[in-house]
Amino acid sequence: MSLRDRIRGSQFWKSVFRHPAPVDRKNRMVVMLSNIILHLHPVSIRRHALRLGFTWCMGGITFFLFIVETITGVLLMFYYRPTLEWAYNDMLSLRDVVSLGVLRELHRWGAHAMVITVMLHMYRVFLTGSYKPPREFNWVVGVMLLLLTLLLSFTGYLLPWDQLAMWAVTVGSNMAQAVPLLGAEGPGQQVLSVGGVDMITCTSDTRFVLLGARIVTEETLNRFYVLHCVAIPLIAALLMALHFWRIRKDGGISGPL
């Protein structure tokens, strides 16, 4: 028996790869559907799915960038501490001292690129009319993913804790106190009052919940860190799963009529 056959007939191999390499269509489907990685893509796709001039592949690139951001982000987390004392210095040391110092820049450029590609993806979907029935709900899910992408950018922007970060978040979070009903300086702020006592004050409005304090400070840094690394990516992952599920159930990426 050749070495190849001996390996392929071994118990180890057969336990990991349950089916032999496919030689015909039926076996191909069996291999694809029983493999956790391979089953993420459909067994076969329509020809129009490959028309880059039509699809632009921007959705796929955005997802790829999300994976890049997750991996680079997790690696950065090993050397970053979200405290007033260490945040800025850790960012500098990631750049100058830690090996593969370009990782921080990759994370940052990836974030910029992801915002651009997600906008291009939205533009493409609009131009090709791929939001029309039965795909309306998927468009809504996509818009929610766009908002999450922008929120990821916003929360991540604070983490270097430099002047640019602090003031950008100060200005941005000031918008949260102008929210109707739930903002301390927004319209209808007094609507939510119980027995004459204001429920929404500068220590109980959306801005306070967002910042964790009345100004951008250490509590804000921690909040934004948790939002950026855990909360928003989890919600984004769930919505992406729904987004891709919908596309799959609609027969794959939409093509020209």
């Binding site: 100060t170 200005v171 109980s204 306070f208 919940v209 964790g212 304090a213 009345r214 509590e219």
Partner: protein
């Protein structure tokens, strides 16, 4: 097939069979269970929302002492309370009357911290160039309204006491309130 309808037995009403009554009880219990579940879910959501609001914040105290009125000659701007409290203590005239008052350092445009330029005798915001006169009135740049004042009074020991928890806005006519200035 016309005869078949007459041969079918008469179905008694649902509340007259054991199956019907048991079914109704089960539906009621399920409905109650769903109600309790949604109530619990709603309570949980409300409790989580309340959880996200911190009960403790670390800030410098809102009230602090700022020396005696004698420390503030006419036209003087005290800058030493800017870093910790975010306050300019100023002796100037407003509507012809000499006053000592406490201005907020926060620019009314988008919230950056203003700087006092001694040589130009104005407050300048480094973000977008808003300019304010010594008495806090805006005169250049994108700031839409004057700097806000904090409550100020003379405490029992004769010192100026500033309370940052009360603000006064000039454009609402609140600078006429004697709680926001000390006459000199």
């Amino acid at each position: 097939m016309s005869g078949k309808a007459e041969q079918q037995p008469q179905r008694p009403a649902a509340d007259q069979t054991r199956r019907g009554v048991l079914g109704a009880i089960c539906t009621a219990v399920m409905g109650l269970g769903l109600l309790v579940l949604s109530a619990a879910g709603g309570l949980w959501a409300a409790a989580t929302a309340r959880f996200m609001m911190p009960n403790v914040v670390t800030e410098p105290p809102s009230r602090f002492k700022a020396g005696v009125p004698g420390d503030y000659p006419a036209g003087y701007v005290e800058t030493k309370y800017k870093q910790q409290y975010g306050v300019w203590v100023v002796s100037d005239t407003y509507r012809g009357r000499r006053q000592i008052f406490a201005l907020s350092t926060v620019c009314t445009h988008l919230g950056c911290i203003t700087l006092w330029q001694e040589s130009e005798q104005k407050f300048k915001c480094p973000c977008h160039g808003s300019g304010f006169f010594r008495n806090g009135m805006n005169f250049e740049g994108p700031a839409p309204r004057p700097l806000e004042r904090f409550a100020i009074r003379i405490a029992d020991d004769g010192q100026l006491e500033i309370d940052r928890s009360r603000t006064f806005q000039e454009e609402l006519g609140q600078w006429k309130d004697p709680a926001c200035y000390v006459s000199v």
